[in-house]
């Protein structure tokens, strides 16, 4: 089984984003970028399936500017066999990302596609579901467990009330939730090795995909700030304040 995993270069998990002063966009100048953390979990899962002897090849795909090569090298240093960059400087929204991935999938013919459930920049939580729709494949979103079972895939999903298990036919799309696995740390020798792994570059035009954005950002604003609170000296004061000042209990 061939596995394809999609990785997005996104703002680093520890960085707090701010809008630009003129409110036209998010200020990403000189901001640290990393692999979207949910995609890291997806990469780890692909590698684990391969290490368990259930995948012949693992391929990472990223869509975006040249710097996404670094994201792909990280995936390869973790253990993915090769990388594909679909290079573009256009803004790629989830529907466009799904269309680009579909075009790559039609070339590569994987049986399983793994993605993070959501990117921590636009917080859309759409691309995996959209990709599954465009391919006509089943989807196992918000996965916390993935197991091959009688020619199909059993996926445990984190849902609002607890855990749901579904069985999917292959090929399928799976999106990872936080507790699917804990991604490995990349070791230095593997970073060196990853530099020698194949990394192909394609363009959106070559794939013949229309990536015109459907949503226009009119304004990026700061959220309303909370009024500064107070420290209370003890529990008695706290309970008194909650009863008589805030009146919430």
């Amino acid at each position: 089984m061939k596995i394809l995993v999609a990785v997005k270069r996104a703002i680093d998990y520890n960085v707090k984003a701010r809008p630009k002063a003129d409110g036209s966009a998010v200020d990403l100048a000189n901001v640290k970028m990393s692999m979207n953390p949910f995609d890291e979990i997806a990469v780890e899962e692909a590698i684990r399936i391969q290490e368990a002897g259930n995948a012949s090849e693992t391929i990472a795909v990223s869509i975006g500017p040249k710097q996404c090569q670094e994201t792909l090298r990280t995936a390869m240093a973790m253990g993915v066999d090769r990388g594909i960059l679909v290079e573009t400087d256009e803004e790629i929204q989830p529907l466009a990302a799904a269309k680009v991935l579909k075009a790559v999938i039609e070339k590569e013919q994987p049986e399983l596609v793994l993605l993070g459930k959501q990117a921590i920049d636009d917080d859309s939580n759409q691309t995996g579901q959209m990709l599954a729709a465009l391919l006509g494949w089943p989807q196992g979103t918000f996965a916390c467990g993935v197991a091959l079972a009688d020619g199909g895939l059993e996926v445990r999903r984190e849902i609002d009330g607890g855990i749901q298990t579904v069985k999917l036919k292959l090929p399928a799309v799976v999106t990872s939730d936080l507790r699917l696995n804990e991604p490995r740390y990349v070791k230095l020798p593997n970073i060196m090795k990853a530099k020698k792994k194949p990394l192909d570059t394609l363009t959106v035009d070559e794939l013949g995909v229309d990536v015109t954005p459907r949503l226009t950002l009119l304004k990026a604003a700061e959220p309303p700030a909370r009024q500064g609170g107070i420290k209370v000296p003890d529990v008695a004061t706290l309970v008194d304040k909650l009863r008589n000042e805030a009146k919430v209990i």
Binding site: K16, A17, R18, P19, F38, P94, L95, Q118, I120, D122, D123, S124, N125, Q126, T127, Q129, M130, A132, A133, L134, G136, W137, P138, Q139, T141, C144, E154, R157, E158, I159, D160, G161, I163, Q164, T165, V166, K167, L168, L178, R179, R214, L215, T216, L217, L218, K219, A220, A221, P223, Q227, I230, K231, V232, V235, L238, V239, L242, A246, V248, I249
Partner: protein
């Protein structure tokens, strides 16, 4: 202009989150219809018809709609989409699972997790863990939307008199099947609907120690939540998680105990009316958003609070 709201339910009762989604649809303007797709779901269709302001309920009942599998539900929504300009659902795990599939089949963008309506094509939504509030305009003929339930007051569950119409079922896609569910059982209020929430973090230290949090929650009639750290450590189940990628809550009172306040956690609770933080680290970022902060050992302060509430 007419909107279709995809109802969420368990075939017996309408999930209250649907009432918030209907409120968002009404904020856009125009008539609002509701789709109830389920199996043995007549009580839900009847309940949806009673919701204030609902024009009609489209009811599709078939075995393969019993568990809201996206592979089956999305084509049904698409088959009914023609007269509707807006198609909405609550941004629950069900809505998040199904609606992007609907959007892609319609070749539309989805506008995720809206917190405000500017006009029929312009919406407000948080991005970057809520650190940026984006106003976005859709160029698509149809707008597929998920609704952050805490941002829209629910419409009344009664007072309406919508008609229930049978909708033709689409075929079982045969791509996926429901195997089972392990749902957390609790007598406490549901996290996203609770007036008061007491949440525990890494500082609680163990699954057993969560009894301290639960005792305070029960004293306050509150729901119990948790930070990602507490869920990852296995202290509580995944559905307790409050945050950017867990549940977003906005109760009247949120008590954060032993939670440092990572931006990902703040994204899920900072719209609460009143926030209390109890933490031994006085530098913890949670104090930056708390209305009332108490620096101290949670194992001493929380039981003391339970006692003080008796007085």
């Amino acid at each position: 202009m007419t909107a279709l709201v995809v109802a969420e339910h368990d075939n017996a009762a309408l999930n209250p989150a649907t009432l918030n989604a209907i409120a968002a649809a009404q904020a856009i303007g125009g008539d609002v219809d509701v789709l109830v797709a389920g199996s043995g779901s007549q009580p839900v269709a009847d309940a949806a018809a009673q919701v204030a302001g609902v024009r009609k309920v489209l009811h599709a009942d078939a075995a393969h709609y019993g568990h809201a599998l996206a592979e089956n539900l999305a084509p049904l929504v698409v088959s009914l989409a023609e007269p509707y300009e807006h198609i909405l659902a609550a941004a629950t795990t069900t809505g998040k699972n199904v609606m992007p599939r609907v959007a892609a089949l319609l070749d539309c963008a989805q506008i995720s997790d809206i917190i405000g309506v500017e006009s029929s094509d312009t919406f407000i939504r948080p991005i970057y863990a809520g650190n940026v509030i984006a106003t976005v305009k859709s160029a698509d003929a149809k707008k597929v939307i998920t609704v952050r339930t805490t941002a829209f007051d629910p419409v009344a569950a009664s007072g309406g008199s919508g008609a229930v119409e049978a909708a033709a079922s689409a075929d079982d896609a045969g791509l996926s099947e429901f195997v089972g569910e392990e749902l957390t059982k609790s007598d406490r209020p549901e996290l996203t609907a609770a007036d008061i929430i007491v949440s525990g973090g890494r500082g609680v230290g163990s699954s057993e120690n969560f009894a301290v949090i639960e005792a305070l929650a029960d004293k306050l009639g509150a729901a119990v939540g948790a930070s990602r750290a507490a869920v990852d450590a296995g202290y509580v189940p995944n559905d307790y998680q409050v945050g950017q990628t867990g549940k977003v809550v906005a109760p009247n009172l949120y008590v954060a105990v032993g939670i440092s306040g990572a931006i990902q956690h703040l994204a899920g609770m900072k719209d609460s009316k009143v926030i209390v933080a109890i933490n031994k680290d006085e530098e913890a970022p949670i104090f930056g958003v708390a209305d009332y902060g108490l620096v101290g050992d949670l194992f001493k302060e929380v039981p003391a609070m339970v006692e003080a509430l008796d007085k």
